[in-house]
């Protein structure tokens, strides 16, 4: 625990990921396709020139069932003309016209989408031209939730090491911005009563966590232990930790009961998340589910990007095939 607590030294202030600027690498941490849900991907380029985008569906869950731990990866490439937008439903894909084919993912799929801006020959570029939006759609109740893809801005040095992409680091020849040293997310206590609906209702927050490092050559999922520091409205602080291998998506209460309304004791909470010392960085997206209770239960959700703080001293790596 002391090692974990000592991780709370703020990383070097500097460039870090963005969810609001065109970037060179986009990560869509939460992509879900199953009987109940589907995902819509929107990508566009802010470049006045043609941009090539090399994308990878990374299924981190299916691969692990009953087999050696590993990733299932499906890749494809798109060509986007000047400021062109493109969108597709993950389960349907896109035909081989226009920007290019996108394979359909028939499901079940629980994983992420990773896209890298490259040159015509496939060498990664630091062009920082890509923006991405995800819409998570529930088929039955038509609920939708949207979040922005997490972007890594590239520098002029991007691609110098070929298909091994270092994210962050302290060198002057950094190729891409790094993962944040810390994430912050404001949320409501898990299982708390919805402040607007009242008795019988509940609010739960799901976290999706993916390691920044991706090995798309050997398909070995990265492992990171995430350390949580939760502060409630009374300024009381609670701690928890959880290992993540490849990908995680679940309610906060499955991480630890410190997130529960009964433990926190207040409605609002602020959670800081950091990797344990020596572990790779990670990316986070939250999705808040509201349930009405009563005889006819209604449910709706909203996704939100977390706040990043600081940058890691050590780089993370994306290894492209």
């Amino acid at each position: 625990m002391l090692e974990l607590l000592s991780a709370w030294t703020v990383g070097r202030a500097g460039a870090q990921v963005t969810t609001e600027q065109p970037a060179s690498i986009l990560v869509f941490p939460k992509v879900i396709v199953d009987d109940a849900s589907d995902t819509v991907i929107q990508i566009s380029t802010a470049s006045p020139l043609t941009a090539r985008v090399w994308c990878f569906y990374v299924d981190a869950v299916s691969a692990g069932a009953g087999t050696s731990p590993g990733l299932l990866v499906t890749d494809f490439a798109l060509w986007l003309s000047k400021q062109q937008p493109v969108s597709w439903v993950v389960s349907a894909g896109r035909p081989a016209v226009g920007p290019g084919p996108v394979p359909s993912i028939t499901g079940p799929f629980r994983g992420e989408l990773l896209c890298v801006e490259t040159g015509a020959e496939g060498t990664p570029l630091g062009g920082h031209h890509l923006t991405g939006i995800v819409t998570l759609k529930h088929r039955q109740n038509e609920d939708i939730a949207k979040y922005s893809a997490i972007g890594f801005l590239g520098t002029d040095f991007a691609g110098e090491t070929g298909l091994s992409l270092p994210l962050g680091g302290s060198g002057s020849d950094r190729q891409y911005d790094g993962c944040p040293a810390e994430w912050r997310l404001d949320h409501l206590a898990d299982g708390a009563e919805d402040p607007q609906i009242g008795p019988g209702s509940s609010v739960r927050t799901h976290l999706t966590i993916v390691p920044c490092s991706h090995d798309l050559i050997t398909f070995v999922p990265a492992r990171v232990t995430v350390v949580f520091e939760v502060t409630n409205e009374f300024e009381e602080v609670f701690f928890a930790s959880m290992p993540v291998e490849g990908w995680f998506d679940g309610p906060l209460s499955s991480v630890s009961d410190v997130f529960s309304a009964s433990r926190l004791g207040t409605l609002a909470a602020q959670t800081r998340m950091r990797p344990a010392l020596g572990d790779p960085g990670f990316l986070v997206v939250g999705q808040e589910f509201h349930q009405s209770g009563g005889p006819a239960v209604l449910e709706a959700s909203a996704a939100v990007n977390a706040h990043g703080q600081g940058t890691r001293d050590e780089p993370d790596f994306i290894l492209l095939p």
Partner: protein, 707 residues
């Protein structure tokens, strides 16, 4: 020397590192994914009729020190010019009335302790007694509190507007360069009938302070050469679908996008609305086509894209699903937010929404400025971090010389009311609460109806615990002129016969034990509000009705029976002599006069008439049968009372004297004095005419004859 290849890249890398180090990292401009010194919630909406509310989450990203923020809630509602109802367009106003744009600000202050999150609903705000660390009953582990935090609710419902907060220094009353604020907003719609639940969430937009740049004046400069904070974006990028397109997953909904746009330039001093600003829209569809539109947009826009231009953003016109729109403010920078809505075409009230912060590109070269008002103690305006401002910088008046509340309980200015204790309330005001216990002579009514109260004493006007004849007469006399709270037991605004009976009851038998009576002004503001709350109004209570008690009427201690005044209920003592009303002519005691004759004893000889008259004026059966009683008898007891048959015979003794002629003339000159001589009004029309005066003189000369 030309540097090429590896050496060139090394030099470039060194330069980059130097620049990056000097800047403290990349200047990202506005951002919603990092803590900042200024946070803006562009879209705060409440509509209780449709079950819509916004939950604001606001937290301190610094885990080691508290932070104070000054906030402004800006109401962007338009209002119809004639009736002031909320409107968005002129079409919302009746009769072609214009919809006048509004821009009204409400200032408040929030203090967050180390690492603390707060949350509140916009419709309710966060009152001081609901802050988690109020500084009185609870403080944080470091001794910090949310003291001074008061979040007001939205000023009107429905409400649409924005929330603006920036970090300030508690002592210097000025912005500080601390990038520790972060916020989120959740817009939720919940209705039970029809069943609806929809949630959308976004991050507040942040502007980071640039260290060492704030010059302490009354403006926050965003971007530009004199930047104190990171600037607004040059271009906002939104990825969306064309309005009206079929949602691609289920194919059962149509997609619409609501765009929220506000200018970066803001006036938080006078809350002057900035004028319309030119905005450029560049729209790129997925086929590579580009469309351009310029629009003049007002200072607050929250509108479907297709309302901005019904052709440009309409799927049926363009035919493309995906679109990238680039938005640029040509005058002021812009802050944007997008809400995507999937609408059921068969039931447009069924909507699924999702909000998302927009992307941006580049920073504006020109600065945007947010003007704010520095707190000035003594200007009469409470500007955070002031907690009071009584218009002076004098201490000892409950608001200190530095505009902080003086301790609760401290004595303050006397309101010249002996029943109230004048003390500071601890929030900057001098309050005048009734003493506890109340001193003698003071009253305090806390119950809803005197008649309901177990210790109510109806009629005890001076609160001395006794109802005397003067008080009875006052209640009687003023019953038609207005009410005195102690006479009007059910606070109906009039004193009815049953209440007079209650007054007489207390006069005869004394007030109930422990009775207290309100002695404040007619509105009883000293004692607190009184309200009528009876299932059976006292006007319906008839003491002679056997069903009265069963109907819920208060029981009197004596059952009144209309008996002649040979058994008067009370005889006035010398100390209780009433000075009100005309002087009655004395009649022999012990003999009940006829109902048309005034006397000094209560009651009259005709029981039926006596009943009628006393029902209207109880004093007639309590104190004496005066002229007033005779006048009522003339009206109520026509068969029993023939006292007006001799014109001018004011006292009914069958003789018209000179004095009675004078009274008749006085009544003729002043109709309000008709009671001086009812007998002069031969035709009961309330006036004495010349003819009636002549008739009176005639009787004076020739006599009345047999009555």
């Amino acid at each position: 020397m030309v540097m090429t290849g590896q050496s060139g890249r090394q030099v470039i890398g060194v330069v980059f590192a130097v620049v990056a180090a000097a800047a403290g990292g990349r200047a990202h401009g506005q951002a919603s994914d990092q803590a900042a010194a200024i946070v803006i919630y562009p879209y705060v909406v409440v509509d209780s009729a449709r079950g819509i509310d916004t939950t604001i989450q606001f937290s301190n990203a610094a885990s080691e020190r508290a932070i104070t923020a000054r906030c402004a809630l800006l109401d962007a509602n338009g209002h119809c010019a004639a009736d002031g109802r909320v409107c968005r367009h002129a079409e919302d106003c009746p009769g072609g009335d214009p919809c006048v744009p509004g821009w009204l600000g409400t200032d408040f202050r929030v203090r967050l302790t180390s690492g603390q999150p707060l949350a509140w609903r916009a419709s309710r705000g966060l009152p001081p007694d609901e802050v988690p660390l109020d500084g009185v009953t609870r403080v944080g582990p470091r001794g910090e509190s949310n003291f001074y935090t008061v979040v007001p609710p939205i000023p009107e419902d429905p409400f649409a507007g924005m929330l603006f907060c920036y970090a300030i220094d508690d002592d210097a009353y000025a912005p500080i360069e601390r990038n520790d604020l972060k916020g989120e907003a959740t817009i939720e719609q919940y209705q039970q009938e029809p069943p609806r639940l929809d949630v959308a969430k976004y991050n507040a937009v942040g502007f980071q302070a640039i260290p060492g740049r704030n010059n302490g004046d009354e403006s926050l400069v965003l971007g530009g050469e004199e930047a104190e904070y990171t600037g607004c974006r040059n271009v906002d990028l939104i990825n969306h679908f064309f309005d009206g397109a079929v949602e691609p997953v289920s194919g059962t909904r149509n997609v619409f996008t609501t765009l929220v746009l506000i200018p970066c330039d803001q006036d938080l001093i006078l809350y002057l609305r900035t004028g319309k600003t030119p905005v450029q829209f560049l729209v790129y569809d997925e086929y590579g086509s580009r469309y351009t539109r310029y629009a003049m947009l007002g200072p607050y826009l929250a509108s479907p894209l297709s309302d901005i231009d019904p052709r440009l953003f309409d799927y049926s016109v363009v035919g493309s699903l995906s679109v990238q729109t680039r938005i640029r403010g040509l005058d002021s920078g812009l802050i944007a937010l997008v809400i995507e809505q999937h609408v059921d075409p068969t039931d447009p009230t069924r909507v699924a929404s999702a909000a998302v912060n927009v992307h941006g590109q580049g920073n504006r070269v020109r600065a945007d400025v947010i003007g704010y008002r520095r707190a000035i103690c003594g200007d009469g305006v409470v500007d955070p971090p002031e907690r009071c401002d009584d218009g002076n910088t004098v201490a000892g008046d409950c608001c200190s010389a530095t505009c902080q509340p003086e301790p609760a309980g401290q004595p303050c200015a006397d309101d010249a009311n002996a029943c109230t204790d004048d003390r500071c309330d601890g929030r900057g005001a001098c309050v005048h609460a009734p003493y506890e216990p109340l001193p003698e002579g003071c009253g305090c009514c806390q119950f809803e109806s005197l008649a309901e109260a177990p210790n109510g004493c109806v009629g005890d006007l001076d609160g001395d615990g006794v109802v005397n004849s003067a008080e009875v007469e006052i209640c009687q006399r003023f019953k038609q002129l207005g009410y005195r709270s102690s006479c009007d037991a059910d606070l109906s605004g009039s004193i009815d016969p049953f209440e007079i009976a209650m007054v007489r009851d207390n006069y005869t038998y004394g007030c109930p034990a422990g009775a207290t009576v309100c002695t404040g002004p007619a509105d009883s503001s000293v004692c607190g509000p009184l309200t009528a709350n009876r299932s059976v109004p006292l006007e319906a209570c008839d003491r002679t009705s056997p069903a009265a008690a069963a109907a819920g009427c208060p029981a009197l201690r004596a059952t009144y029976t209309p008996t002649p005044s040979t058994t008067p209920m009370a005889t006035p003592s010398a100390s209780e002599t009433s000075t009100l009303g005309p002087t009655a002519t004395a009649t022999p005691t012990g003999v009940a006069p006829n109902c048309c004759t005034a006397g000094n004893t209560p009651g009259c000889s005709d029981p039926g008439c006596q009943l009628c008259v006393c029902g209207k004026d109880g004093l007639c059966c309590v104190e004496r049968w005066g002229e007033r009683c005779v006048g009522i008898a003339r009206q109520e007891c026509a068969a029993a009372c023939r006292c007006w048959q001799c014109a001018g015979d004011c006292d009914g003794d069958d003789v018209v004297t000179i004095a009675e002629l004078v009274r008749s003339v006085r009544a003729a000159l002043d109709p309000d004095r008709i009671g001086d001589c009812w007998a002069a009004d031969r035709n009961d029309d309330g006036t004495v005419t010349i003819n009636e005066l002549v008739a009176a003189v005639d009787r004076a000369l020739s006599g009345c004859g047999a009555s």
